[in-house]
Symmetry: C2
């Protein structure tokens, strides 16, 4: 990019929607002004999609008014199954839409050149260009939160592929919400860790962060649940290593806040299990929960550059 461009970037989440007016410079991207709202929802998935379009337009107006800046483009990312080339939200289990033409509707509603993408892949793009995966040719960028998914980077690009590492069968046999058994996500997502600890210990916890604190305190139930989560993650990572041979795995999302409490035993478990596969380096994500929004901004900027 020859000069600074401003774009509106929106990361539509299952719970909250994050928006920012982002400055794209030759040196990178930087959020100038941010907003966060509960995602608009209706009973009907298509009505939810319509409401999301309205919410994006309102956030764009608000960010422009607050900064006094015009925006050259809009970038929006959503969860679920996304057809990036076609500009449609194919399916969101959580938000309910099916085959909704987001790119076209957003462009009509805002009058801005619009880029549309997938939240996890966009977050991976941000980590690749401006975060923990910078300079890598191949990587798996893996946010771990309520669910687990991955952006697959190969030959310096984020593949337009499902990356559903959370739903790889690693053999533990427990059922998953997706209908399969043995999924990584059924043991290693933040939600699974909290749920499995509660079932074992007989009392609720606020989330995986509380389980992490109990691991540090030596609580035996927490240690078991944590160890089983680490084992599932290691086995899932090995499957990707056999198929794609990434240089590094970048762990993000809420669970990565545990830092070395997660990466140290995970590295040990990978060392125990690995045979012929390329040994991926383990890294922690650098951009936190802003990755999706910055990725949406990068998609918007790429759209401008292609013109």
């Amino acid at each position: 990019m020859a000069r600074t461009e401003h774009v509106i970037a929106v990361d539509v989440g299952g719970t909250d929607t994050k928006a920012a007016l982002v400055a794209g410079t030759p040196g990178g991207v930087r959020a100038v002004e941010r907003r966060r709202r509960p995602t608009a929802r209706h009973e009907d998935g298509d009505a939810t999609a319509e409401a999301v379009v309205e919410q994006v337009a309102a956030l764009a107006d608000e960010l422009r008014a607050a900064t006094g800046r015009e925006a050259a483009a809009l970038g929006v990312v959503v969860p679920g199954i996304v057809d990036e080339a076609g500009g449609t939200g194919v399916y969101s289990a959580n938000l309910g839409w099916r085959d909704y033409p987001f790119a076209r509707r957003l462009a009509e509603r805002t009058g801005l050149p619009t880029a549309f993408g997938h939240d996890v892949r966009a977050g991976g793009l941000a980590e690749l260009r401006a975060g923990a995966a910078r300079g890598l040719r191949s990587a798996v960028i893996m946010p771990i939160g309520t669910g687990i998914a991955a952006a697959l980077v190969h030959d310096g690009r984020v593949l337009d592929a499902p990356g559903e590492i959370g739903h790889v069968d690693v053999g533990h046999g427990e059922p998953c919400g997706c209908g399969q058994r043995g999924c990584v996500e059924a043991r290693a997502s933040s939600a699974a860790i909290a749920r499995r600890y509660a079932a074992r210990a007989g009392h609720e916890v606020r989330g995986a962060a509380e389980v992490a604190a109990l691991v540090r305190a030596g609580d035996p139930d927490a240690l078991t649940v944590w160890h089983e989560a680490v084992d599932a993650l290691a086995r899932g990572i090995l499957q990707v290593a056999a198929l794609l041979g990434p240089e590094a795995v970048v762990l993000g999302g809420g669970l990565a806040m545990a830092g070395p409490l997660l990466t140290d035993p995970l590295r040990t478990r990978l060392d125990e299990l690995i045979t012929f596969q390329r040994r991926p380096e383990l890294r922690l994500a650098a951009l936190g929960d802003e990755a999706g929004c910055l990725g949406a901004a990068l998609l918007a900027i790429d759209t401008l550059e292609e013109r």
Copy 2:
């Protein structure tokens, strides 16, 4: 390609080496003259690599003499771990070399512009450009023989990735030659099918083709072993479907000669196991054991086009 070019293509195998003088036309590739030899071998892996280089040069001379044609380039593919960009054979378990600079040595020895690649990925390239995967944007091209590997096609290109679908853990727990347990290959390779049938039935068979004949005849041991192979293949394919979402899986190698005896139960098993994944179409490879050689020719032709 504007006009017909002739190239020498060589597929170095663990047992046999196949060579051809190939005509590349605007319409595709066609072998004009073929040779097949036992692969040159020595105790020492580097000596084997040197002997392979000599064998390739001798085959090139022979093919040129037999056809009276000059060759514009050379394409050579080898098994094992291959660094395509660096032009080296990183490791072959079977042939023993480590970090051997094939591309440079072959170019020096033959004086021809030389393309160097991986046998399975080159075979996948041939199926993609001129075989069963023609026109697909994404596919898994999976030869099943003594071992099982895959060429991963994404966005119309063969990824420079390990593609070791044979060494994905699908949970059956049996040991594999690679040091892991539960690998697809330990139940579903031609070698595993023959070995497991012999262990169960108490008598040797000549290979998986004989087991396939016994399946057709209703032999219960053969049916069990075949069913377990199909289950392992289905579970391996599902892992790739979750990660990469290919449009089709193209089955090749010796085992694919079984045709619908393989694809019909595999399709049924995939239907039983699949939940959210994209359902890949199952196809049989079109180019048989010539795929690697034609892929080597395509790599050589691509080298000429880049000039």
